[in-house]
């Protein structure tokens, strides 16, 4: 691993460093590292589903949870709690909680609480990588506001339902083609933040990239102008692990040509 990274450093100026902005370079390295080693990497998830009734860990628990320490996650009069031999502790939503070497997270969503459980990473997983960076796929365009406001329940990148608001239609020129892509404002739970997001399919979907599509965030340039850097397109978490549900492709957001930019896809590594 180390030698590969060092090699990347040495060759970067010749085929990477000259083109890839440092921010994108760091973002990619950071993200791949997080996927590979984080205790809450989507690769490490062994359970993802609604909290309906008690969720039991340990030898009496569901199949995927039998290697975990004995514990019960439940929702009661004192809120969400995790009961272990050591007693009960409250469980915050949208944050990780340790259970021995395991981790769990309860995500709030309009449909109720979703639980994701992460086992200790058992093997090092290689990130599939990205298409070579292309400055031609950094698109500037305009976001036309919608005729009327609209809210829509949809799955976010992490397979958790969110209530997204229609932001409008991004209009730009991609590889010589005029494109119109629907954008939604997707909230980031627990903050004042949201991301103007486009979920799109193209000619690479189902081949080099994930079949249902990829997410890309629009960055404001001032006024109605936005930048859509397709090199920063990312897979939904279901691309890494089938335990996460996949967002449905957004109607009208299919490009009829190949966008050779952003994150690649290889069938599951887990």
């Amino acid at each position: 691993m180390l030698s590969r990274i060092l090699l990347a450093c040495l060759v970067a100026p010749s085929f990477l460093g000259a083109q890839i902005p440092a921010a994108v370079q760091v973002e990619r390295a950071d993200y791949a590292e997080w996927l590979r080693t984080s205790t809450s990497s989507p690769y490490a998830a062994v359970f993802h589903g609604p909290l309906s009734g008690d969720l039991v860990f340990g030898s009496e628990g569901q199949a995927a949870l039998r290697g975990a320490p004995t514990a019960t996650l439940s929702k009661g009069l004192r809120g969400l709690g995790l009961r272990t031999d050591a007693g009960r502790r409250a469980v915050p939503r949208n944050r990780e909680v340790a259970l021995g070497d395991w981790r769990l997270r309860v995500s709030s969503s309009p449909q109720g609480d979703m639980v994701t459980v992460f086992a200790p990473p058992s093997q090092e997983v290689e990130h599939p990588g990205w298409f070579p960076y292309s400055v031609n796929l950094v698109i500037e365009g305009e976001l036309g506001r919608p005729d009327r406001p609209a809210e829509k329940a949809m799955l976010g990148l992490d397979g958790v339902a969110v209530s997204a608001s229609l932001a409008g239609t991004f209009v730009g020129l991609v590889l010589g083609e005029n494109v119109r892509l629907t954008a939604y404002r997707i909230p980031i739970p627990g903050s004042e933040e949201s991301e103007l997001t486009v979920f799109y399919r193209d000619g690479t979907s189902g081949a080099e990239t994930y079949p249902p599509g990829r997410f890309v965030v629009l960055e404001p340039l001032g006024g109605a102008r936005y930048q859509m850097d397709l090199n920063r397109s990312r897979n939904p978490f279901c691309a890494y692990n089938p335990r996460f549900p996949c967002p449905l492709p957004w109607s009208g957001n299919t490009l009829q040509f190949r966008v050779e930019a952003g994150e690649l896809y290889e069938p599951y590594h887990y």
Partner: protein
């Protein structure tokens, strides 16, 4: 992690990495899509390996400052699982702020040079209180902007129905103002300027999120919901609680010490700056009226849910303010926890929220949020109002 270090090294390869220490005062910025978010840092890397992030008068301590190979430094913000990683040269730091959310890590470019940002005194035309409407698409929502001219430049805050967003600091020039709040976790910036009598601008959150706003001078008419209107309470039964204190002993409304007393239940969190503002007022009320039959109990909603960690934070909070009334571990600070543990309350629960209960156990008033000392006269008025109301309840009870 190693890969990131090396990539950062790659990104700065070829520069003259200086060997100078990092001790000193730095003017720093995060490069958001909407412009630079300014703040200050004080670092003491060689002696104590410590430091602070400062927005105007408010500073937050870094949890650690570490040197890395390749003339880089790692500034850890442990409370938020966030770091600033930067390459060090003689008089500059260049790198990235990074935090980890549920959807993976996020990075924002970071830069710093030695020294201080210039103090830019705001014109009187923009200071004061403004009634703002934030207009993100289809859900406009009210805010009050409090902008003040201080010796550090422009300071203020953004108040919503459920509380404020902490201290913002910045300055103004050429009719435009910029204020920011960066505490290691929240990345907020307010930019704007006067357009006639109207203040127009943008509230920036994180690297790319932007919400335009329009504001007019506050007239004194209510723009936000009154602090007593936000939360409603089921008053058909006595208000109940039963939670462990930091030693694990449960404290309940049925305990002898609360019977026949006027009780204030303060919902708070040690992570909440406004709760730090309100604690001295609660202590003042307790000192003034405890002998006449006032009891106060604090219900904390903390970050981790781990009694050991949360207990330590709550114990420190109590020691900091000299609190003698019980502080209980009631839950965690997500949107739903206070409602789940206090089902008698409905509506958005602000931090802090003070619930005033008469000797019969009935809720007489719920006060959401708090105006801290930074708001001057408004704070003093509120404190007097709370003192008077408490005295009224005690008088009613013949105490």
């Amino acid at each position: 992690m190693l890969a990131l270090v090396l990539v950062l090294g790659c990104a700065t390869a070829g520069t003259d990495a200086g060997q100078e220490g990092i001790d000193g005062h730095w003017r720093a910025q995060l490069d958001l899509a909407g412009g630079p978010l300014r703040f200050h840092m004080d670092l003491n890397g060689e002696g104590g390996a410590s430091g602070t992030l400062c927005n105007g008068a408010i500073c937050d301590a870094l949890s650690a400052v570490r040197s890395l190979p390749g003339d880089s430094v790692l500034l850890e913000i442990g409370d938020y699982d966030a770091v600033i990683r930067a390459h060090v040269s003689a008089d500059s730091l260049v790198g990235f702020y990074r935090n980890v959310g549920n959807r993976g890590p996020r990075t924002i470019p970071f830069r710093a040079t030695r020294g201080s940002w210039p103090i830019e005194a705001p014109p009187a035309s923009i200071t004061g209180s403004w009634d703002a409407i934030f207009t993100p698409d289809d859900s406009p929502s009210p805010r009050v902007l409090e902008l003040r001219d201080t010796e550090r430049g422009l300071e203020g805050t953004v108040i919503s129905n459920t509380g404020d967003s902490g201290l913002f600091w910045g300055g103004a020039s050429d009719g435009q103002f910029v204020m920011s709040h960066f505490d290691g976790s929240f990345v907020y910036m307010l930019t704007g300027g006067l357009d006639g009598d109207t203040l127009r601008g943008v509230f920036h959150a994180g690297a790319t999120s932007q919400r335009p706003f329009v504001a007019v001078r506050s007239t004194g008419a209510p723009h936000l919901k009154a602090p007593t209107e936000l939360v409603t309470v089921d008053a058909t039964t006595a208000f109940e609680w039963n939670f462990p204190d930091v030693d694990g002993d449960f404290v309940s409304n049925l305990d002898e010490r609360f019977q026949g007393k006027v009780v204030i239940v303060e919902i708070f969190g040690t992570w909440c700056p406004t709760c730090h503002d309100s604690a001295p007022t609660m202590v003042k009320l307790y000192d003034m009226f405890h002998d006449r039959g006032l009891e106060i109990v604090g219900l904390s909603y903390e970050v981790t849910g781990d009694p050991e960690i949360d207990g330590l934070l709550v114990r420190r909070f109590g020691e900091k303010f000299g609190i003698e009334y019980p502080l209980l571990l009631a839950g965690v600070n997500d949107d739903d926890s206070p409602h789940e543990t206090q089902p008698q309350l409905s509506g958005p629960i602000a931090f802090p929220t003070a619930i005033f209960i008469d000797p019969s156990g009935q809720v007489r008033r719920v006060h959401s949020g708090f105006y801290g000392p930074a708001l001057g006269e408004v704070h003093e008025e509120l404190e007097q109002e709370l003192i008077q109301f408490t005295e009224e309840l005690l008088r009613e009870a013949g105490r």
